[in-house]
Amino acid sequence: MIHSVLQSLKLSLLLLILLCVVYTLILLGFAQVIAPNHGEGSVIHYTNNANGDSSYGFYNIGQDFTQDKYFWGRPSASYYNAMSPSASQLSMTDSAYLDTLKIRAAYFLSKNPTVSLKDIPAELITASGSGLDPDIRVESALIQAKRVASARGISIDKVNKLIEDNTSKPWLGLFGIPTINVLKLNVQLDALKS
């Protein structure tokens, strides 16, 4: 027994060196070369709105946008908490679930008075799977264009053009969903002003 325990222990230690230490070091090395921002998560620089300091955010991590002059992302069950994010985990059959959606839809209509209920994209009233979804679909951006344009006092054509420029194209036109990174779009909106 002791003999085979020792054998197993030694073998495990050696494998630990290969599969954890060597493996991780190789990948860290590659990260320096091929990963965006050396593997620290790709970032996007901007001037933050509260005090005008230069700042940055993570490109892939959604931010909570609440102001009229910014495009809003998906609702988040964890309010864009990026330390322990989560989905709503609500069942579609749960009694309280639809009430939450009704409140979100009503709020959206109050802020976008020209939109009619049936045109609200479902993804703008339902919570994302991660609670940090950085993207929205094209129609979810277009439907907010009027609000954003009037809050900023710019023409809606300019906003629509920006939406079009920021739409990711599916690979070969076949693989993927055309989406818009909300943070990037908003950063470019701010840049438009100056």
Partner: protein, 571 residues
């Protein structure tokens, strides 16, 4: 929606196209034939064997092989449990996880869960574990337990290939080769692709940023890419972040989503083909692949259909159209179809990762996911999926033999009472370990409905029963996916799921290896006109029917009380 469906089909086809050559490679690796990585790994492996005093060339009996497997597992358990309990005294804790963040019971559950290749996560990685624990315990377990499962599968291959012998090869040989020549190189490639697309690989602590609107946001990160690769390739499923592959750092683009989906299928699919090449029964392997694919499609098609319709009560009661199908718990960059495809893939293959919230899926998708785990032999776990299928083969041969009045033989070996008894125990243990804890938990819940409803669930009604059933199905199938709307961090759930995971990992493996050992020693009977052709379509239909009957008959009442009841409330 059409391009999403196209993506699903192409992903599946690419998985098959990659799995066939990989299966051939794996068969070569296990049979010791020349492979293109020999120059690198021959030396490393011999060094490992020499230092640890293991003779990997020695032919071992089934008992000796099983012993080697169990002793390794014991060593790993002690190591993992100790490290998790003292993680804050160890290095690599840049996020300053507090010593009491992970209770001993949670540490016990986590150790068992990763030791059994199950990867149920009753903790949150980013707030309860240090980088050291994530890499040196969880990621390490994801490598070695997956490799150990594959090695067990190869022992079963050997029972078929050998003519009257008492050896099943050498567990260490298969295990070490699975680590070095299969998992290690594939994971390197996958991890590099993932980090190129933006998955973090850093030892820096969480990033603190100011959002565009000026609010502070702290963003957890870490050496995710390496962890993620073995999580997918090793049929493990335990993610770095809580939302698993829904998290944009764990799955940033549609491309990474495709890579990760292929990675779920790759090894379990390739293992079926490896069987064909290893025992030189390519037609039989193709038939097994056919049954597994057919079963998976049967579960997949209705799920895709219902997710593409979305939640119809949003259309009816709120008046908002579900143009793109389900959106609750679904990430915009993946879409509803990819999320339901993932949910079925991850449960058919016993992976357990998620790219959306399973709790919010359609009741039919949840039923399909449950059935996939209840059968647990549609591709299944690394090595052990094939093992369950092998048990179904044994039972099917016996049943088919009875039907036509012949003595049942499998590959020239007679199946007798002993093998049948073990196979039946292994197969029936599965529903037992799902249904008994489900019934027990429902009973506990009924003792004080208000208190437990409040403490355990955020959902109400039939769905809570579905959640209980799902938790134990996932534990028993060593799957690890979870309906996140339950407070699993409580001691009750940690203890009960840990016990279920432990029993459902080791008893079937011990049983299956015993059957393999017993079959290997039997006298070889040459094939004659009266031999049952196991590589025929007829036999495949019988195996499939047995799987359906066992799953349907055992689980139908439970499914009616949970997801079916939900289905009828929402339609």
């Amino acid at each position: 929606m059409n391009s999403e469906l196209f993506g699903v089909i192409v992903t599946f086809l690419v998985s098959v196209a990659l799995a066939i050559p990989l299966g051939k490679y794996m068969a070569n690796v296990y049979s010791g034939k020349k492979t293109f990585l020999d120059f690198l790994f021959n030396g490393i492996e011999n060094f490992f064997y020499k230092l640890s005093g293991i003779n990997a060339q020695e032919a071992l009996s089934w008992r000796q092989n099983l012993y080697a497997f169990l002793v390794l597992n014991l060593v790993w358990f002690i190591y993992g449990f100790v490290v998790l309990n003292f993680q804050t005294s160890l290095p690599l804790n840049p996020d300053h996880i507090a010593p009491d963040a992970l209770s001993p019971i949670a540490a016990f559950n986590t150790t068992i869960s990763f030791l059994a290749n199950c990867n149920i996560q009753n903790y949150t990685g980013t707030t309860q574990l240090t980088y050291f624990s994530q890499i040196f315990v969880l990621s390490f377990f994801q490598f070695v337990t997956s490799a150990a499962g594959l090695a067990i599968g190869v022992l079963i291959f050997k029972s078929v290939v050998n003519r009257s012998t008492n050896n099943l090869g050498n567990f260490y040989y298969y295990f070490v080769r699975s680590c070095t020549r299969i998992l290690f190189p594939i994971c390197l490639v996958v991890a590099i692709l993932l980090m190129w697309q933006g998955v973090p690989m850093t030892f820096k602590d969480h990033g603190t940023i100011k959002t565009l609107e000026g609010v502070v946001q702290t963003v957890a990160r870490g050496p995710v890419a390496g962890f993620l690769a073995i999580k997918q390739i090793g049929v493990n499923g335990g993610g770095w972040f809580g939302p698993n592959s829904a998290h944009p750092f764990e799955n940033p683009t549609y491309f990474t989503n495709t890579i990760e989906l292929i990675s779920i299928f790759l090894i379990p699919m390739a293992f079926v083909f490896a069987f064909g090449f290893f025992v030189n029964q390519k037609k039989f392997a193709a038939m097994i692949f056919g049954v597994m694919t057919f079963g998976t499609l049967l579960l997949l098609v209705p799920s895709l259909f219902f997710e593409s319709k979305g939640n119809t009560s949003i259309d009816k009661k709120i008046g908002v159209a579900q143009v793109h199908g389900s959106t609750e718990g679904v990430e915009t960059r993946f879409g509803a179809l990819s999320t339901s495809f993932w949910a079925i893939t991850t449960t058919a293959v016993s992976n357990g990762s998620e790219n959306g919230a399973i709790d919010s899926l359609h009741p039919i998708t949840i039923t399909s996911a449950l059935l996939a785990m209840m059968i647990n032999a549609l591709f299944g776990g690394a090595g052990v999926g094939f093992m369950y299928y092998y048990m179904f083969i044994i039972i099917s041969i016996f049943v088919a033999g009875l039907m036509v009045g012949r003595s049942p033989e499998f590959m020239g070996k007679k199946i007798e009472a002993k093998e049948m008894k073990i196979a039946v125990i292994v197969i029936l243990l599965h529903p037992l370990l799902i249904l008994v804890p489900t019934a027990l938990t429902t009973f506990v819940y009924s003792l004080n409905t208000d208190a437990y409803q409040h403490a355990w669930f955020i959902n109400h009604g039939y769905h809570t029963f579905t959640e209980i059933l799902y938790a134990y199905s996932s534990s028993t199938a060593n799957n690890g996916s979870a309906m996140g709307g339950v407070n699993y961090g409580l001691d009750y759930w940690n203890m009960t799921t840990a016990i279920v995971i432990l029993l459902s990992r080791y008893i079937p493996i011990i049983g299956a290896v015993a059957v393999a050992g017993s079959l290997a020693t039997k006298k070889y009977i040459p094939t004659s006109a009266g031999t049952l052709a196991v590589d025929s379509a007829t036999f495949s239909v019988i195996v499939f029917s047995i799987m359906v009957i066992v799953a349907a008959l055992s689980f139908f009442p439970a499914l009616v009380l949970g997801p079916f009841a939900e289905f009828f409330t929402c339609h």
